[in-house]
């Protein structure tokens, strides 16, 4: 499944009105993976995706989409859901999906039939002849997503697909993304919500301030941080405390510290020998959020959280 690269970009640069929005981005998305681009709003995610798809031309650098240097040449096998959702309000859901397929070379009649199937399979069969303007925002977004995949593309690019969706529609979208990936489609999406990337992606790129700060497997991002040890003891004092690392801190009645390179065993021995009275001991792998903070910086992480909260407010 993971053969060549679906997307490869090197040194992409783009400026608007003299201000650099993207400053030399390198991306390599293996075929058949779910790939996430993480970053706060304004980090350069949309500009990067637009350049990868050939909607805008980079000022410098080169990119290849499914082996095509000119991205539009691969248009028939690519699906794209832009951040600014766009559907003709008067069109019915079936026609809207079929039209988006037709733009990618799918015959209209086939598009209509596939639209009906997609709607029916996702419990939206009653909406086949409903105009877009009569749908909720989340439902319209789902219709646009169907339009993005109706021509069975090899690569699906989704720009902030979860933005503005309620929890039910977010779940439906996650499900659809997994289905597409299982069918062998490469899915690349941008998001400012870390847990979507954490749940869905195999590989991620973290963008901040127009630069890639990390590119690789989610596990690799998390491995950049040592696992965290959480310890609660019955006795507060004792010789065993000398065995804890120097940066160990107490939070909410727990000792917290990074797992030492030498492992947990020497500490565990000291705890047992020193009669610390272990009540709770756990070694936790750091989450992607922690990795993001470590990679992109505290301010970028705070911005991400603010974006996410604004998004939740919008969906509510």
């Amino acid at each position: 499944m993971h053969g060549g690269l679906a997307i490869e970009a090197k040194g992409l640069v783009k400026s608007f009105d003299g201000k650099e929005a993207v400053r030399g981005i390198d991306v390599a998305v293996p075929e058949g993976t779910i790939y996430g681009i993480l970053g706060p709003n304004g980090a350069g995610k949309t500009t990067t995706l637009r350049m990868l798809l050939g909607i805008i031309e980079p000022d410098a650098g080169r990119r290849s989409l499914l082996g095509h240097e000119r991205p539009l040449e691969a248009a028939r096998i690519v699906g794209y859901l832009p951040e600014e959702r766009g559907l003709y309000p008067a069109m019915t859901t079936r026609e809207a999906i079929a039209f988006m397929g037709a733009l990618r070379g799918l015959p209209l009649e086939t598009g209509r039939k596939r639209a009906e199937i997609l709607l029916r399979d996702n419990g939206l069969g009653d909406y086949v002849d409903k105009p877009i303007k009569s749908l909720s925002k989340g439902m319209a977004q789902t219709i646009q997503l169907f339009g993005t995949i109706v021509h069975k593309p090899k690569l699906v690019v989704l720009d902030e697909p979860f933005s503005g969706l309620d929890a039910i529609n977010q779940g439906r979208l996650e499900h659809l993304i997994r289905d597409e990936a299982e069918a062998g489609t490469t899915v690349i999406f941008s998001t400012h919500v870390i847990h979507h990337a954490e749940r869905l992606c195999e590989r991620i790129a973290i963008i901040a301030d127009g630069r890639i700060r990390f590119e690789g497997l989610v596990a690799e991002a998390r491995d950049r941080l040592r696992p965290q040890v959480r310890l609660r003891t019955r006795n507060e004092d004792g010789l065993w405390r000398q065995a804890l690392p120097g940066d160990a801190r107490v939070e909410g009645g727990f000792w917290l510290f990074e797992l030492p390179r030498g492992g947990i065993e020497p500490i565990l021995k000291a705890l047992l020998d020193g009669g610390a009275g272990i009540e709770e001991l756990s070694i936790e792998r750091p989450g992607l959020h922690d990795a993001f903070v470590a990679i992109a910086g505290e301010s970028a992480a705070r911005e991400m959280v603010a974006n996410e909260q604004a998004d939740l407010g919008e969906a509510a």
């Binding site: 909607i55 805008i56 040449e73 794209y80 832009p82 959702r85 766009g86 003709y88 733009l103 070379g105």
Partner: protein
């Protein structure tokens, strides 16, 4: 990747269907018919209305009244009923001056002037401007009445002089007039259609901007095909409109012809003959639309929102009106700088060539004119589509006219 034309067909089809099934299109179709019907009806009503002809009270003895009435009858029969004021006899009172003022003040009778005195010493009472219009025509009636009365008194009654008629097929003057009328009518229709199409095109673009579909299109097909598709869709829509209007007017004509001789078509056709004329009109209409449509689309893409698009409508309509009047001025014109300019200026050239086809039998000048049009269509589409491509995608393009204005303001 789909070819530009293949993609343009998909875009054109969507725009065509969306527009044809929209309320705006129904207005687009019905409004010209309503306007046309209203003009016809108004003309008919005005023709029938007495009030459109000034009324003059004749305060005189019965012999004078009869002589004036007979003279009016003769003159109106030779020209038209509405050319001369209607005369109403009023018995003279003791003081005719006071009576005349009273008659002019009476809103119910609505006299424009009052005639008093005799044929030898006529007096016309009324506002100053009456002298310019009704007065001169009344003078003709008085003159005719006086002459006829004098000749009758001398025992030489007047009789119409019979004119022997030699009927020819045509007269150059008449032919020219009819052909110029045909040219002006076609130019007027094309102007009206392109004004409406420009509005439709801009509202279509507004829909694109507000629904933000443009990015989906740009990611799927070349922007040139979006541009071309929109242009072709509107051209198709206009042909639907033309076919429908033509059909309705044709049916109406046949209906009224069957009921009564309502309208008579001119016996004279355009100089190149109807078949060639129709083909040339279709070509020049298409060329005119493609040039103006491409220009509007290029300019319209500069706007970033609906309000800015509406702002653009006025100057665009003014531009069209300017081109139309330039073309009108060239009809029947023997030459001169303005006429040549109208022939060469690409946006008026097609309209002027329609007039040329109506007035001149020569077909060869249409060949260079068509080539000239095709060259300009190509150039304007290239230029406008570049402009469109540069600005259509951006919600706040730095290069757009409006963005520059905004920057200046701040």
């Amino acid at each position: 990747m789909m070819s530009v034309f293949e993609a343009a067909r998909v875009i054109a089809r969507r725009d065509f269907v969306a527009t044809v099934y929209s309320r705006t299109f129904i207005i687009f179709l019905v409004l010209p018919l309503v306007i046309f019907g209203a003009i016809m009806l108004t003309g008919q009503v005005l023709d029938d209305r007495d009030s459109s002809t000034p009324r003059v009270a004749v305060v005189a003895d019965s012999a004078t009244v009869s002589a004036l009435a007979a003279a009016r009858e003769r003159l109106a029969a030779a020209t038209s009923e509405h050319s001369f004021p209607r005369l109403t006899a009023v018995d003279p009172a003791e003081n005719v001056d006071i009576q005349a003022r009273q008659l002019l003040a009476d809103h119910e009778t609505g006299y424009s002037a009052v005639f008093s005195g005799t044929l030898e010493r006529p007096v016309l009472t009324g506002p100053r401007k009456i002298e310019e219009t009704t007065g001169r025509r009344l003078a003709l009636i008085v003159e005719d009445a006086a002459r006829t009365t004098a000749l009758a008194a001398a025992g030489r009654p007047t009789a119409p002089v019979p004119i022997s008629r030699v009927v020819t097929e045509q007269a150059a003057g008449n032919l020219q007039m009819v052909r110029q009328d045909i040219a002006r009518t076609i130019q007027g229709i094309i102007f009206a259609i392109t004004v409406m199409l420009a509005t439709l095109l801009l509202s279509n673009l507004a829909e694109e901007k507000t629904s933000k579909v443009i990015e989906v299109l740009a990611a799927s097909v070349p922007l040139d095909s979006v541009f071309l598709g929109k242009l072709l869709a509107m051209l198709g829509i206009s042909f639907v409109g033309l076919a429908l209007w033509g059909g309705v007017i044709g049916l109406a004509y046949l209906f009224f012809q069957a009921v009564q001789d309502f309208v008579t078509l001119p016996q004279v056709g355009p100089a190149v003959g109807w078949p060639a004329f129709v083909l040339l009109v279709l070509f020049y209409y298409g060329a005119n639309y493609m040039l103006l449509g491409a220009l509007f689309l290029g300019i319209g893409a500069q706007a970033t929102n609906l309000r800015e698009i509406q702002t653009l409508t006025m100057p665009i309509t003014l531009l069209q009106a300017g081109v139309f009047f330039l073309a009108l001025a060239a009809v029947g014109s023997p030459g001169g700088a303005l006429t040549w300019f109208a022939y060469i200026f690409p946006f008026s050239s097609s309209l002027v060539m329609i007039a040329f086809a109506a007035e001149n039998t020569a077909l060869w000048p249409h060949v260079p004119a068509m080539v000239w049009q095709v060259v300009w269509i190509f150039l304007v589409i290239r230029l406008s589509s570049r402009l469109f491509r540069k600005t259509a995608l951006k919600s706040q393009s730095a290069d757009s006219f409006f963005a520059i204005l905004r920057r200046r303001r701040t």
